[in-house]
Structures are given as C-alpha cells and as structure tokens.
Symmetry: C2
C-alpha cells in the first residue's frame, strides 16, 4: 500500500496543521498508511498547542509528487493555497469548511465540506461516524484548532456544532475550555495575523 | 422561510430525478421548505420507477432564479450540467458521486461527495445520520436509481456500499431486487443512452 500525505493550506494556521494530524490518525486507524505534513513553518500558537499536548510537529514539505502519488487535503481546496505540485498528484479526499473554488479533479473523490467554524469540527463527526475513539492528545489539538478558528467560540463563523464539539473535546483532553483557550490565543498574539476566515 | 429548489443534472437520468426527490424529502423532514424539480423531460425508465412506487413526477423547470434565491444540487456539480441560471442563485449544498470541476461558490457550503456508484447511496447514509426513516415509496425510487446507475450492481463503478444499500432499500420497498431490477432496466431500453458514468 502506497503512502498518502495529508496536509492543510500554505502558511498553515493551527487548524491546517492539526486537522492534518487528526485526519491522518483517523485514516490510519481505518487501515490506510498516511502521514500528516505541513506546507510551511509552524507558528507559535500551533507550536504551543502541540507542545501542550505532547504531539510531534509534522514534517514541513514544499512538494509532494517526489514522494507520493496520492494526497488528502484538509482545511483548504483552492489550488493556489495548496502544495505547488498539486496538479501532479491525485486528490483522494478533501475535508474543509471554506467555499469551493479553483478546485477540480479527474476522478470521483471523497469531499466533505460543511459551513461550520473549523475543519476539526467536521473531523470529530467523522471519528464518530467511523466509531473511532479520539485519543486525549489528538482531542487537545483538535480543540486548539476550534479555539483558534473561532476566536474562543466568538467569531461570526462559529456554529452550535463548533461549541458542542469544543466542549466535548475539552472534556476528553482534560482541560478547562476558557482557561486553556485564553492561554492558547495569548501564545499566538506575538506573531499572529489571523482572521476569522481561517 | 424561503423555498429552496433541489435538482439533478440536465437530461435527467433516474438518479438525477429520484435523488432530488429523496434529498428534498429528507430536508423537509429536517424542517426546510424544499421542492424537487427536474431540468428536463423525464425518461421512460424514470417514469416506470415513479409509477411503480406511486411517486408524483417532479415539475420540469429551465430556470430557477425567477422563483428562488437558494438551491441544492444532487447528482452533479459542473455548471454546464446544471440549470442555465445557476450563477444567479446560491448553492446551499451538493450531494454527488462525480468528479468536481467547473464548480465554485462565493460562500462555504455543505458538500458531500463519495466515490460510490449512485447519489442515492450517499443519501441513504444521510437519512441514517439524521435518524430519518426512509418511507416505502422513497425507498423504491432510491433503489431504482442504484439499479439504474450500476446496471443492476454490475458496473465498474458499483461499490460494496451500493450493493448493501440496494439490498436494504429493496427490503423496505418490498420488492425482489433481481426481478424488479430487470423489469426496470428493460423499461428504459427503448430510449436509453445511459452510460455507467451517470
Ligand atoms: Mn480552518
Ligand atoms: Mn486554516
Ligand atoms: Mn448518479
Ligand atoms: Mn446521473
């Protein structure tokens, strides 16, 4: 079985990095051989979250066709936000919460988008649909992404499902949502240029 | 609440027509006000299926922006296969089993695609995810679409999930899968130009 790379968008934010990790873990539990990678330097907020929950930083890549034939995209679909050689590989699946544009495939694929505040909110649903338990460390970084994308559940993009997912993940991760959320957002303020759109 | 139209592709086949009906029924159960319509004359095979299970033929439309602001697409996504004024309405959701191309939105949406043999196979999953019971008549036309798209479960596009779904729907519809399947496919042979790609 050939390896599949999973990645979020360029200039990765916390959702892009952690949704690659959480989706890759799910796919591996389902029997595939996938690896989460990042398309750029991992920022301070994301580093804080990964360290807090003892999750390894993913490898940073700039091309993928030199090592795999197939990929899975998370937290983006537009080709200009993706890896530079995206045209040279097959996109097997997309999990995303953005509009669809500048995206096309030659073959049918698995595409899961919902108008919610965070890709990890959708991925939590997928864990449940497949009956896969979310490990404590993965729950922590998924929670971090929801906090990051919804600015601690206060962005206009935040939905009831994001709020319920955040509460559930905080429980699994064993952290207080408010306290951890403020700590996480503070960790990113030095360098952040985040928008509620991410 | 404004009405939403649900439709499959132009030159509608059995999956295009019946997935609009089955998806519209699901959305209405979930509280929306939707109507299934068709983008062209309904063929003999589809007419046979609708008559067999006593389901009304949907209205045929050529434009939609004259009556609604929002639509839901089934069994297609490419704009050239869709209604001619698709650019003038908002696509709220897509359920499909084809490649993605020539499709873009201004806003986030609900998009559900899987590489299976028939849109109604995905819609059956959605009924289950939402805990909505499939009525006998709807089960019959959903089954008809799977038979039609997979040439009675024999096409290269047919997956294990399509086969399991067909068996389950035949049970609910109260028909023998093989016997009904052959009758259905025969009904369409006079005028059909179907391919396994539909
Ligand atoms: Mn995101
Ligand atoms: Mn993002
Ligand atoms: Mn179809
Ligand atoms: Mn079709």
């Amino acid at each position: 079985m050939d390896k599949i790379l999973v990645f979020g968008h360029k200039s990765p934010d916390t959702d892009a990095v952690t949704s690659a990790i959480s989706f890759s873990y799910l796919q591996n539990q389902l029997g595939l051989d996938t690896e989460a990678v990042a398309l750029g330097e991992i920022g301070e907020e994301t580093t804080f979250a990964l360290n807090y929950f003892n999750v390894n930083k993913p490898r940073v890549v700039t091309t993928v066709s030199n090592e795999v034939k197939q990929v899975m995209l998370v937290d983006h679909n537009e080709s200009q936000q993706s890896v530079e050689d995206i045209e040279k590989v097959e996109v097997l699946s997309v999990v995303d919460h953005h509009r669809i544009a500048n995206f096309q495939t030659a073959n049918p694929l698995y595409y899961r988008a919902e108008p919610v505040g965070c890709t990890n909110t959708i991925i939590l649903k997928l864990y449940k649909e497949h009956g896969v338990t979310v490990p404590k460390d993965i729950a922590g970084i998924m929670l971090s992404a929801i906090i990051s994308d919804t600015l601690l559940l206060k962005s206009p993009t935040c939905t009831d499902i994001d709020i319920a997912s955040a509460k559930e993940l905080a429980e699994i991760a064993g952290v207080d949502l408010e306290n951890y959320g403020i700590e996480l957002l503070k960790s990113g303020t030095k360098t952040s240029d985040k928008s509620a759109e991410d």
